[in-house]
Amino acid sequence: MDLRAGDSWGMLACLCTVLWHLPAVPALNRTGDPGPGPSIQKTYDLTRYLEHQLRSLAGTYLNYLGPPFNEPDFNPPRLGAETLPRATVNLEVWRSLNDKLRLTQNYEAYSHLLCYLRGLNRQAATAELRHSLAHFCTSLQGLLGSIAGVMAALGYPLPQPLPGIEPTWAPGPAHSDFLQKMDDFWLLKELQTWLWRSAKDFNRLKKKMQPPAAAVTLHLEAHGF
């Protein structure tokens, strides 16, 4: 609930759009016949893969943004990008999250991030960068699908997108070029942080899902509620 505190209507709109594009819930999990374990593992692997992918993509993109953004010690204070879902969270709070909430937070965060990333893609100047961003978007969309699959496998409903909100990356005219680059910087940085966190989330989930059997898992889930 802490996470939701900072959400804006626009972000919700973006999430809704993303969810709108997702197919129906039962269709999501086509691989998880033997329970959610393999799909959690796969989702975990995917976050690692995306993290690795993003590392090279971010390097390329920050170089594209130019100094000071591509400098290794560039670490600006987070000011503008308030609409981005924030990954950092108190450790105790994170530990206390139940699986459903954890998955839901991940799902909603990536829905928003994917939405912003598409806007980033549209602005990218070089074809190579656009291609990399497009591939990353596709992969991120795969991650969303995976998370949805895990949630479906565990029997959680997908968060319902709020209708009527325009899912666009619409930087205001007041934004200077620098501030826009700052937004891009924070998008990539937040994406990376989310991928780290997701890796931890799914690792935790994975450990919980490993045998003992699914019945035990369900019991724990029930207990968690």
Binding site: L28, H52, S139, G142, S146
Partner: protein, 918 residues
């Protein structure tokens, strides 16, 4: 397509010319369906619909439509006229070939015009693609391939479709030249399952393959590890450390590896156990390698769980393990090269250690020589031999090889004192080839052996034996020669056991690595040739041409046209005796020497057996000569003893005319000795009747002779002239005849020179007998007289005929016939022809005449009559020449009469020839 174009052009021309100007170009009709695609094996019907306008212009209707397929008229049975404007054509069970179908009309009933054409395409609907599989080459896009199934003969599109649960990806259309695979346009997203299938579609249908669902990460073929490098360790000479850089996909997945290695010269790779390389890593240490050996490595990787594909092999990398102490002492041996009073020149020889024992580069060898109970001498040698001068005492030599790390154990060799007696050889030494190597096997001696020295060299007549050698440990019972051996060469192999106090007695054997047929065959020659046998000899083949152990010889011998005979001979022999040969025959002999691998012929040798054995001629000739000599001697002795008797037999009793009564009677001839009865028979040819008296006087004596002559006569019948062959035969006749023929002119005959000679013979001495008439003296005195003696009638007949004075001969005949009761019928005609009878022979005559009368009734009678008529005619002529001619005829007749006789006449011609000169 070309035909279609041609048709279009034709159609265009037709319509441009037939349609009135200014109107739009239009066809006269159309075929439907427009572009048919037919499933192979199915039926198909096409329709041609004419336009009304066209029908009126050309005065045609649907019945004037004719169809052509590929310019060939389609049989009318396939047409159907549906109505006035439409005709259809039907194809059944259409085969796989594209057809140009054209609808034509016969304008005005006869002019053929093209109306419309379509191209029919025949094929199959696509089959369901099978075996769909995908691969993701790292850093590249996903490629899928499948088995398209049966050839459709139609343009078939294959589309690879892929989708996520949440999203569809763009289709991947297979290129026409690679209809069995397609590479998708988007980069694969790992860890998200994707569903893939193939759609195949052509004009006859569309079919979809089974869907496959997979995570692209499970179809990855990583790039091979790169920058593979090898490093050794000075501490451990048995290890090499490999390092490499993993492909980038290592960041996403865990890898396992496959490491291969081999020594530099080997061809087969060895594999590091897969369980040792089952986790992601960037280095690996290979153990249990040989020191100072170059190894080659290669590596590949794949996803740790085995899903996906192995990468290609990395590039080879090689490294050399570090040196180690030589693992063995070198082989060590010695040769005493020369020996003089009090000192020996000894060459110590040793073998360089093979690389796997040297374990590094051998820097030098350390040799020590220790004389009995004295200080040792040290040598450092780079070469593999050392020549030292030693006294006759016993020495101990040691040898060690040294490399960068250390020196080997020492080989110890005892060089015994000069007067040392070697003993205890190895036993049962055998050498044999096996697996293209020459193996040596022996039974160890009873004494404890320190080591064995095996020496070998090529045995040759042309080059000296240069021995190679090798050392074997004391436990070895069998080894192979580790030198470069040549096939077809005889190796002399010597095994010397080496004891603590010095070498034992050497033992030798011979062997071939691989035998071959001899390169030359033995040259065989004869040592001695007899009538029925020949002793062959040959030289043993030189060892250089033997090429193997001579197992046996085979001698082939044959006559020039006879079968070849083969004899096997033991190889130890150099000589063989061929027996049962035929004498006086040309023999060809050659010899083949056989090794285990085959034989080789030597040159062929030819000899002729003599007709006679040695001494055989002598054995025959000497006895024959002796026998001849003896026979001659006996003959001479016999003749000498019985000379009187012989004389009587050999020389006929020629009557001595001087003793004849007639001689006394004849006015011409002086009185001579009397003829004996025998001679009188023919000598009296011209005698008068008076001679009868004389014959009677000799009657008793002559009878036996007459009988004899008659017997002969009977046997030979009247072939009297034929019988005249022989030494005196012809001369007798030739000489007698002229004398006979000239009987009318006795005087003239007497004047010939020959007459004089014969006369002389007769006169000079035939038992003092003198021919009564001088004219005949010649014929009577010659050898033929003997002949005549046997055939008195012959001469007498002739005499009778030619002389015309037949009285006396007739009498004689009668006389003979009387004395011979069993008269031959042939003779009878003479009897008949001589009707004049002698008073003394009345009885006989009567008998004969009776016989003759019997005879006359037989067939021959008439001829005989005729003959004698002719004879008488001849007499009448009295001419010498004609008389002769006639006589020949007579004789011929006689011959005719005598047909069927066993002997034929040679005679007439001979006689003619004999007479011709006259």
């Amino acid at each position: 397509m070309l035909s279609l174009q041609i048709w279009l052009v034709q159609a265009l021309v037709v319509f441009l010319t037939t349609e009135s100007m200014g109107e739009l170009v239009d066809t006269c009709g159309v075929i439907s369906p427009e572009s048919p695609v037919i499933r192979s094996g199915s039926n198909f019907t096409a329709f041609c619909v004419l336009k009304e306008k066209c029908m009126s212009i050309y005065e045609v209707n649907a019945s004037h439509i004719i169809w052509k397929a590929n310019r060939v008229l389609i049989p009318e049975e396939q047409y159907t006229v549906i109505n006035t404007t439409t005709s259809s054509v039907t194809f059944t069970n259409k085969s796989l070939s594209n057809v140009q179908l054209i609808c034509n009309i016969l304008a005005f009933g006869q002019i053929e015009m093209n109306v419309y054409g379509v191209k029919m395409r025949v094929g199959f609907p696509p089959e369901k693609p099978k075996n769909l599989s995908c691969i993701v080459n790292e850093g590249k896009k996903m490629m899928c391939q499948w088995d398209p199934g049966r050839e459709t003969h139609l343009e078939t599109n294959f589309t690879l479709k892929s989708e996520w649960a949440t999203e569809k990806f763009p289709d991947c259309k297979a290129k026409p030249d690679t209809p069995t695979s397609c590479t998708v346009a988007f980069s694969p997203v790992y860890f998200v399952n994707v569903e893939v299938w193939v759609e195949a579609q052509n004009a006859l249908g569309k079919v979809t393959s089974n869907h496959i669902n997979f995570d692209p990460i499970d179809k990855v073929k990583p790039n091979p590890p790169h920058n593979l490098s090898v490093s050794n360790s000075e501490e451990l000479s048995s290890i090499l450390k490999l390092t490499w850089i993993n492909p980038r996909i290592m960041n996403v997945i865990r890898l396992k590896y496959d490491i291969h290695y081999k020594t530099k010269d080997a061809s087969a790779w060895s594999q590091i156990p897969s369980e040792d390389t089952a986790t992601t890593r960037t280095s690996f240490t290979v153990q249990d390698l040989k020191p100072f050996t170059e190894y080659v490595f290669r590596i590949r990787c794949m996803k740790e769980d085995g899903k996906g594909f192995w990468s290609d092999w990395s590039e080879d990398a090689s490294g050399i393990t570090y040196e180690a102490r030589p693992s063995k002492a070198p082989s060590f041996w010695y040769k005493i090269t020369s020996h003089t009073q009090g000192s020996r020149s000894v060459q110590l020889i040793w073998k360089p250690l093979p690389p796997f024992e040297a374990n590094g580069k051998i820097l030098d060898y350390e040799v020590t020589l220790t004389r009995w109970k004295s200080r040792s001498q040290n040598y450092t040698v780079n070469d593999t031999d050392l020549t030292v001068n030693l006294t006759n005492d016993r020495y101990i030599a040691t040898l060690a090889a040294r490399n960068l790390v250390s020196k080997s154990d020492a080989s110890i060799l005892t060089i015994p004192a000069f007067d040392f007696q070697a003993t205890h050889p190895v036993t049962d030494l055998k050498a044999y080839p096996k697996d293209n190597m020459l193996w040596v096997e022996w039974t160890p001696p009873s004494k404890a052996v320190r080591k064995y020295i095996v020496e070998w060299c090529v045995l040759s007549d042309t080059s000296p034996c240069i021995p190679d050698w090798q050392q074997e440990s004391s436990t070895i019972r069998r080894t192979y020669l580790r030198g470069k051996l040549v096939e077809s060469k005889c190796y002399l192999i010597t095994v010397t056991p080496v004891y603590g106090d010095g070498p034992g007695s050497p033992e030798s054997t011979k062997a071939y690595l691989k035998q071959a047929a001899p390169s030359k065959g033995p040259t065989v020659r004869t040592k001695k040739v007899g009538k029925n046998e020949a002793v062959l000899e040959w030289d043993q083949l030189p060892v250089d041409v033997q090429n193997g152990f001579i197992r046996n010889y085979t001698i082939f011998y044959k006559t020039s046209n006879g079968n070849e005979t083969a004899v096997n001979v033991d190889p130890s022999h150099t000589e063989y005796t061929l027996s049962s040969l035929t004498s006086d025959t040309l023999y060809m002999v050659r010899m083949t020497a056989y090794t285990d691998e085959g034989g080789k012929d030597g040159p062929e040798f030819t000899f002729t057996t003599p007709k006679f054995a040695q001494g055989e001629i002598e054995a025959i000739v000497v006895p024959v000569c002796l026998a001849f000599l003896l026979t001659t001697l006996l003959g001479v002795l016999f003749c000498f003893n019985k000379r009187d008797l012989i004389k009587k037999h050999i020389w006929p009793n020629v009557p001595d005319p001087s003793k004849s009564h007639i001689a006394q009677w004849s006015p011409h001839t002086p009185p001579r000795h009397n003829f004996n009865s025998k001679d009188q028979i023919y000598s009296d040819g011209t005698f008068t009747d008076v001679s009868v008296v004389e014959i009677e006087a000799n009657d008793k004596k002559s009878f036996p002779e007459d009988l004899k002559s008659l017997d002969l006569f009977k046997k030979e019948k009247i072939s009297t002239e034929g019988h005249s062959s022989g030494i005196g035969g012809s001369s007798c006749m030739s000489s007698s005849r002229p004398s006979i023929s000239s009987s009318d002119e006795n005087e003239s005959a007497q004047n010939t020179s020959s007459t004089v000679q014969y006369s002389t013979v007769v006169h000079s001495g035939y038992r003092h007998q003198v021919p009564s008439v001088q004219v005949f003296s010649r014929s009577e005195s010659t050898q033929p007289l003997l002949d005549s003696e046997e055939r008195p009638e012959d001469l007498q007949l002739v005499d009778n005929v030619e002389s015309g004075d037949g009285i006396l001969p007739r009498q004689q005949y009668f006389k003979q016939n009387c004395s011979q009761p069993k008269t031959s019928p042939d003779i009878s005609h003479f009897e008949r022809s001589n009707p004049v009878s002698s008073g003394n022979e009345e009885d006989c005559l009567r008998l004969k005449q009776q016989q003759i009368s019997d005879r006359i009734s037989q067939s021959c009678g008439s001829e005989q009559m005729k003959m004698f008529q002719e004879v008488s005619a001849t007499d009448a002529f009295g001419s010498e020449t004609e008389g002769q001619v006639e006589r020949f005829e007579t004789v011929g007749i006689e011959a005719t009469v005598d047909e069927g006789m066993p002997k034929s006449y040679l005679p007439q011609t001979v006689r003619q020839g004999g007479y011709m000169p006259q």
